[in-house]
């Protein structure tokens, strides 16, 4: 590797590793600086979001629910790392310090909070700057984030960058913090891990104050780097030319645009490895000639395309979709499992059937969970499952899982500061492959309805804590309303 700085997996480091102790010392030094100092902890955290009634102009800049999510956060982390490195060097630490990442999907106990962040004091008795009491129950005691929350599979399997159901998110204006075009990476694992960790991490206005925020985002950045190895980012100039301003080490200004953050080599850093716990999602997958049950349109067989060498060129952004069915009434979530039927309209599917004969399209199906609203994030991540059997086994849950819904940023989306209108959250998932599998197995007999289950995902509490503290997902006083669940066809 020719890059000067290498970000390593924090679980490969001992608690007293120089990288970790230097990070902790730098955090303490930055926290001692004034809020108005661009290299202070408070300023850097406020650039993401702040609860202050008198924010400075460079504060409250994070981009969410937007295709700018990955580019803004890569630049944000880049400058933060430079500021911390300068502090590390000033403290006498390693000159090649780089921000470690937390790969919560690394297997074993890697899905628990790294041990250096858990205790209020260090081994020598001094205060631990990496510790924060304000996290969800059990996190500091070693509760595990389930694979349903940490999995990168939903993101890495997407073929295109642009679109709410694709990797990077949908097209939005560059101004405004919270839109509703959340991409797959932003939803899972990014939003879900924020909500699962809870406390300051559960609110975008306070999340960056938790020292684990930066390791979480380093992992999100690493997942983008992995996806880029096989896929093409958007070449749209609205994304590549959009620059964002930050503060650099020394307090001076820094700015990067989309084109500037596409390659981490150009930014002179890399990651230590690109192992994934599961096999790489295939770049090319032959779609079997599956017939969906009547009255869905028939899928007409297509000759398989050979794999193309090199990264995939970006396909057309999210295809023109058409709604084929939706729920009649809003869905209310209060912490228990909820199952809602989505009826497929027969007249629409009959028309589409005739279209199919004329055009021979390759059909795709999408599930949208729209207008998700709540007073506050209740701190629960819901798994979304399609046609889940009653009393599902672990294999059933894995096979029917199409995505997650979590309420990170719901307060800010409702009452935005900038030029974006108030809105609910929205999650868009492709379910083509699952419907293919169900049809091929003859386990989707009723083609006129798709059953969608919202099932709260619980943390894996450590044995001692599980007995001592009653942890529940119920939140009857803080209901979440889903305006509509709809199925779309492309």
């Amino acid at each position: 590797m020719s890059e000067s700085f290498v970000r390593v997996d924090v679980w490969t480091l001992a608690d007293d590793d120089p990288i970790i102790t230097a990070y902790g010392d730098a955090v303490a030094a930055m926290q001692a600086k004034a809020d108005s100092d661009p290299t202070s902890w408070a300023f850097q955290a406020a650039m993401h979001g702040s609860l202050s009634n008198a924010p400075l102009p460079q504060w409250n800049q994070c981009r969410h629910g937007s295709w700018y999510f990955v580019s803004w956060h890569r630049a944000y982390l880049y400058y933060f790392e430079r500021i911390v490195r300068a502090q590390v060097v000033a403290n006498g630490g390693p000159a090649d310090w780089a921000l470690p990442y937390w790969n919560y999907d690394g297997g074993g106990t890697h899905n628990t909070l790294p041990t250096a962040f858990r205790q209020p004091t260090r081994a020598d008795g001094s205060a631990n700057p990496l510790h924060l009491a304000q996290r969800a129950v059990g996190i500091n005691a070693g509760a595990g984030l389930p694979a349903a929350i940490t999995t990168p599979a939903f993101a890495l399997s997407r073929p295109a960058f642009t679109g709410a159901s694709e990797f990077g998110g949908g097209v939005t204006s560059a101004s405004g913090q919270f839109w509703s075009q959340t991409g797959r990476l932003e939803q899972t694992p990014h939003n879900d891990v924020h909500v699962a960790l809870g406390g300051l991490m559960g609110n975008p206005d306070t999340a960056a104050q938790d020292p684990i925020f930066w390791l979480h985002h380093a992992n999100i950045d690493r997942l983008w780097w992995l996806w880029q190895k096989q896929h093409q980012d958007t070449t749209d100039s609205r994304w590549t030319k959009q620059a964002f301003d930050f503060a650099d080490a020394g307090g001076g200004p820094g700015s990067l645009d989309g084109a500037g953050v596409e390659s981490i080599s150009a930014l002179d850093y890399s990651y230590d490895h690109h192992r994934l716990r599961f096999p790489w999602p295939p770049v090319f997958k032959e779609r079997p000639p599956v017939r969906w049950p009547f009255p869905w349109p028939e899928r007409l067989p297509r000759p398989p395309r050979p794999p193309r060498p090199g990264p995939i060129r970006e396909q057309a952004i999210e295809p023109q979709r058409e709604i084929v069915g939706a729920t009649e009434a809003p869905v209310r979530l209060t912490g228990a499992q909820v199952r809602v039927p989505v009826r497929i309209d027969r007249r629409v599917s009959e028309s589409l059937r005739l279209d199919a004969r004329a055009r021979q399209p390759e059909h795709r199906a999408f599930l949208d969970v729209e207008d998700i609203d709540a007073d506050r994030d209740p701190g629960v991540v819901y798994g979304v499952y399609v046609n889940l059997p009653a009393d599902p086994t672990a294999d059933d849950l894995a096979a029917h899982h199409v995505g997650n819904v979590s309420m990170f940023g719901v307060e800010r989306a409702r009452d935005p500061r900038g030029d974006e209108p108030g809105h609910g959250l929205r999650v868009s998932m492709e379910i083509t492959e699952l419907l293919d599998t169900l049809s091929a197995n003859d386990s989707w007999a009723d083609g006129e309805q798709v059953d969608v289950t919202f099932r709260p995902i619980t943390l894996e509490q450590p044995p001692g804590l599980a007995d001592a503290v009653e942890v529940t997902t119920e939140h009857p006083d803080l209901p979440v309303t889903v305006g509509r669940v709809s199925v779309h066809f492309a």
């Binding site: 709604i323 084929v324 009649e328 028309s351 207008d371 209108p421 108030g422 509509r484």
Partner: protein
């Protein structure tokens, strides 16, 4: 198997095209006979034409949202329901604002400029953009589409009531409706609404002072 009536084979990519045609027709009628000619609800039909022409473009995104979020066989119906709900708000406003004699246009311009600078203007303008989830079928779907039209109409009225007051008070001629409609549409589609409303306030205030000065001299 029950035969189901077939709808258009291909969905329209631009469902708001039909509404845009209606808006264009309203402009033709308006330019032939611009402005309400007398106060009172007797001129409500002309007010309606003026509203469709001037506020119609700002409703097109809402029509697009309604159509794209409706099943293809009830797209036109849902869009029409939205349009009627939207129009109902403005016709109601017209019935009220046409009753008294019109204020001098300079005063109306200054009132509009002042309203542009209030936080309520920003809140209502952003509310125009808000989409709503729509049920797919049945009377619930009809009610939701019409209700969505009413909501967007109310947000629009909250944002632009003062500009339409200027339109009522303005001298005859096509320039005023065209200019005000252009401002309404710009505010609706701009990516920087805060900046646009402030700049518009300056322009409206300058015109208002100019007209008042001419009136007083």
């Amino acid at each position: 198997m029950v035969a189901v009536p077939l709808t258009r084979a291909r969905p329209r990519l631009r469902p708001e095209t039909g509404a845009a045609v209606v808006v264009a027709l309203a402009w033709v009628l308006l330019l032939a006979r611009p402005g309400p000619h007398q106060t009172g609800s007797a001129d409500l039909p002309q007010w309606t034409v003026m509203t469709v022409a001037m506020m119609g473009p700002a409703a097109l995104p809402g029509i697009r949202h309604t159509a794209r979020n409706s099943l293809r066989w009830r797209r036109r119906r849902a869009a029409a329901e939205f349009g009627l709900g939207y129009l109902a708000v403005w016709v109601g406003y017209g019935a009220v604002v046409l009753l008294p004699p019109p204020v001098p246009v300079g005063v109306a311009l200054l009132v509009a400029a002042g309203w542009q600078l209030t936080p309520y203007k920003r809140r209502w303008l952003l509310a125009c953009h808000r989409g709503r989830p729509l049920p797919p079928t049945g009377p619930r779907a009809d009610r939701a589409a019409a209700g969505f039209g009413l909501r967007v109409g109310a947000a629009c009225a909250g944002s632009c009531w003062a500009l339409m007051l200027v339109a009522v008070s303005a001298p005859m001629g096509p320039g005023w409706p065209a200019g005000l409609a252009g401002l309404v549409l710009t505010e609706r589609v701009t990516r920087h609404p805060a900046r646009t409303t402030r700049v518009a306030a300056l322009g409206l205030a300058a015109l208002g002072f100019a007209y008042l000065a001419a009136l007083l001299s």
